[in-house]
Assembly symmetry: C2
Homo-oligomer: 590 residues x 2
């Protein structure tokens, strides 16, 4: 080693170290020549230490210091002193190091942007020069928190006797839902491995093997067209437990989240969390991932409007549709333009637009007033507690569309009225339970699994499974935080009969089932225990705990929305030799 090694980091000196001779290694953050004094801020992961040179007393050193530029890597030797002008904002702000000697360990060209949180840099530049972006304190901080989160997770599951087991990354392609990333096999030409979308089947196999409690922090892969909050590879906390029901998995998950919020943010979150059935979540919030930090609940008014003789409503009622609304408190002063914009949102989500009733100066004002009897409007007013200054936004449509549209309008009003600003540091946790087991795919003309085909039906709905399968609910649960789905899981089919019945409901052929899931069915023959689990999105968790909405902020080397890594420029071309060995050819564009 051809430089003096640090005796302390740049983050650890305190007032009680005054008088100590130290050696520091770090990056030059700033050099400020104040004439009588020169200050150098030396930075590393642990903090910043101020070095001082007195040009009058140290003319040679002062001359040499002129060579230093931002991001130079240096060693510095000196004595710790109390600062004359302390900086209470940083932990090392009470001291400085009186520089006695230093050396340049490595030089730096002028970086393409200043290494500082004060500058605004395009995301493209940040990703291109990720190594410099990651030097910025605000960016680095998120990865230090992410590290803390890993450690809390490891510790928590160890205490609960979970076994950490690594499953494979080169697995079988069983696309059911999302698209697989494929890996051509060289030894078995023409065949492929798939990168796992989740270790679902393997963790179930581990339960059948008797491991009882499994956990893994694991990368998963989905070759989807990326949205801004998605990445082709993402991390989940994957767990599975035997001899359990829904409440056990929920309890373990709540314990983890409570500990994370406490240890990372110092926030006590109350457990058990509220639970909402899927139906109730849809009816009250128009979403299966409702943000419960604010009210703005949806109110169903179909019955009240019966006999209104208003054609649009009567038609909706005739087809079994729904009339429902949101009382936008204090929004009676919305302009025509604002109301039109909300109406446009409704149309964007397949609705026909909105109607409204407002109460202003104690008068009911509404385009409906000339069609609908006053006694009905009065009843509605009472029912939704329409107070002076309130605006009731109504949607009348097929049930799914009506609630979905109102769910979107609910978020829009919260946004417009700044409801989210008031609750920015609040967290609302809710379990959504009792999901439908199946949903009908118009595209495939068959039922598909709403979660995945391994989810068990609720015992009390089993009698409906042949007659009205769409009404069967699943032993599934999603954890929702502030309107984000943080994770989801279920109790699984553990008898071969259950699992086969599910495949039949999905109309999968026997040969298809055998080819894709044969090994699971076979494993179920030999005494599988009842089991269930959950997968929690780790990237999303870190986003919540570091307060960012950008998933690329919490991944060290993320891809762009088109799947590119701008730093190392991948994916990239490979040699013909490589392709030949794999027995594949690139299809030329026609």
């Amino acid at each position: 080693m051809n430089f003096p090694k640090r005796s302390v980091t740049c983050g650890e000196l305190r007032i009680e170290n005054v008088g100590l001779e130290v050696v520091l290694n770090g990056w030059v953050a700033t050099v400020r020549d104040m004439g009588g004094l020169i200050f150098i801020d030396l930075r590393d992961r642990y903090g910043i230490t101020q070095l001082v040179v007195h040009p009058e007393m140290q003319p040679d050193l002062a001359e040499r210091v002129k060579e230093l530029k931002q991001e130079y890597v240096v060693w510095a030797k000196g004595k710790v002193r109390e600062r004359e002008n302390p900086n209470p904002k940083i932990p090392t702000g009470l001291i400085e190091v009186h520089l006695e000697d230093f050396g340049i360990i490595n030089r730096s060209e002028l970086p393409p942007f200043e290494i500082s949180d004060r500058v605004d840099i395009s995301e493209e530049t940040r990703l291109r020069y990720r190594y410099l972006d990651l030097r910025r304190q605000s960016v680095q901080r998120r990865f230090l928190i992410r590290n803390k989160i890993y450690q809390i997770i490891h510790q928590y599951f160890q205490e609960l006797d979970f076994v950490e087991i690594e499953t494979s990354y080169l697995t079988k392609s069983t696309p059911e839902g999302a698209r697989d990333f494929l890996v051509p096999s060289r030894i078995h030409k023409g065949k492929f491995y798939a990168l796992p979308q989740s270790p679902q089947l393997y963790k179930q196999i581990l339960m059948i093997s008797g491991f009882d409690r499994y956990v893994q922090i694991v990368k998963c892969f989905r070759d989807e067209d990326l949205r801004s909050d998605r990445q082709p590879e993402f991390t989940q906390i994957d767990l599975e437990m035997s001899f359990v029901d829904k409440d056990d998995v929920i309890e373990v998950t709540e314990g983890l989240l409570a500990r994370l919020w406490k240890e990372v943010l110092g926030i006590d979150i109350k457990t058990p969390f509220a639970r909402l059935s899927y139906d109730e979540a849809i009816r009250r919030f128009g979403s299966d991932k409702p943000d419960l930090r604010y009210d703005l609940e949806i109110v169903t008014l179909t019955d009240l409007f019966k006999g209104s003789n208003f054609k649009i409503f009567e038609d909706t009622i005739a087809i079994g549709g729904v009339i429902a609304g949101i009382n936008a408190k204090g929004c009676a002063n919305y302009s025509r333009k604002q109301i039109d914009e909300i109406s446009e949102i409704a149309k964007k989500f397949k609705g026909k637009g909105i109607v409204w009733i407002k109460r202003q100066n104690d008068q009911i004002v509404s385009p409906l007033a000339k069609f609908i009897p006053e006694r009905i409007l009065e009843k509605v007013k009472e029912f939704v507690k329409l107070e002076d200054g309130d605006l009731l936004i109504l949607v009348s449509d097929y049930k799914e569309i009506c609630y979905n549209v109102l769910g979107v309008i609910r978020e829009e009003i919260a946004l417009r009225n700044g409801f989210l600003q008031n609750v920015e540091n609040e967290f609302s946790f809710v379990w959504i339970v009792d999901f439908p087991l199946l949903e009908y795919s118009e595209e495939e003309k068959r039922f598909v699994a709403r979660h995945h085909p391994f989810t068990a039906a609720m015992d009390e709905d089993l009698e409906l499974i042949n007659s009205e399968p769409e009404k069967v609910r699943a032993k599934a649960y999603d954890i929702v935080v502030n309107g984000n789905e943080l994770g989801g899981g279920s109790i699984r089919n553990y008898t071969i009969e259950q699992q086969k019945r599910m495949f039949q409901l999905l109309n999968l052929s026997e040969s298809e089932v055998e080819e894709k899931f044969g090994f699971l069915l076979e494993a179920l023959r030999y005494g599988a225990p009842p089991h269930g689990g959950i997968a929690i999105g780790l990237d999303r968790l870190v986003m919540l705990l570091t307060g960012t909405n950008n998933i690329r902020d919490v991944i060290a080397f993320p891809k762009t929305t088109s799947g590119l890594s701008l730093m190392d420029n991948c994916p990239s071309e490979v040699t013909d030799e490589q392709l030949k060995e794999l027995g594949i050819k690139i299809e030329k564009n026609e």
Copy 2:
């Protein structure tokens, strides 16, 4: 849940629980009908609990118990009692549970093999029915130890302020050495990601980003023709540190290994470990991963044989070769056949065979005796301390061949003479240091990096770098345990000049360097800190700590040597639709 949930596991009841009413959930391991009593062993991950039925007093229960078969999953309710015939071999052996009621939770067909450590099963069958194989106690135990190892690693690096960071799995293909697994990009047709052979460049980038200390337990991938101890995907403990030299990385690694051996095996291993230079390891043990649990050192005798007039030796000396030998203690009674077998080994490793000198009944016996003056043989005898009953095996050849052949013979003699049986539970740790930086590839007609191109040269050898590059040693270090390379690392090039010079030594063209490693060179422009690290083979570590020589014993879902997963039958064919989306075609065999 349609069965009574366990109040205790099958592993936790003790004598102090006598009298307790309990519910157990588990697998039926055995049912033994002794006439007067029926014993059922109920098994889960935590242990085995004996259930007892008294047919005379419980005729109905005894009748129902007849339905139970091996591997049935049951719940059982009863009261804890002291056993009349305790089994001191298992922790629950002092108690039993007087069965009061039970139910079958799931049935099992007759497994293809008994779930027991007493049966011998072909590896193919074990891998085919991996879910059943993993139920066996000896197999499960290894994964419980593997879990413990993870937890110790997490804890250790947390204490040392390392930051756990996940690097990407979809990375750039930069094959330099082993073959990459490729992942076709659907969005960028004709381009490919590669699965990482190691996160080498990314961890160096993290140092340049200032994370100071990085650790990750990470999967790595190599598409090599598999040997029996290799897997296409394997796990390593990957770490990197800034502002360090070799000693720092070695100290951190030794601390980890000492803690693992202590906490897993209860063994105190002595640190610091011995260090051997590469040259010395070759000269004394004929290997850069010597097993030091036994002596059998190689002795170089070239000088002693000078002037022997024995043509073979004289020729060797003339070409600058080496004459060296091993004193096989107590092997003077080796038969002609045994000696011939050892000579064959020498030939298999490019040697010309062996000659020997033995001391029997205080006589020197050797085919050399008629060629070589007695005074020389006497000197040799003294030098190698040839005692009565010893056999000196000699090899004369080019230096590399001579030591390599003797290294193999050394292992063979240790094996034949049972030296390893005596030291089976011993562990010998040694660092091999001062490796050559480069080695000449006859195939490519150029120097290649012995470790990888990012390894720094030793400062004291820098002056040789242009004149005699083959003599330059690297700041590289391998940790070797009982003859296995457990891990390896180095101090890296951290200035752009160092790194460019290395690429020049390797005769890589500027465009090739730019295409593959451009981002690293660019990152080095902006103030990279001195840094170094190591990667430790986790699978190998678990093998050592669980006492197995089979890597498939420590991986939950391993591949065969031809890269197949026998349980789920992958790799497998994919649909034309999938290939079309990826823009690739399978090359037909001509």
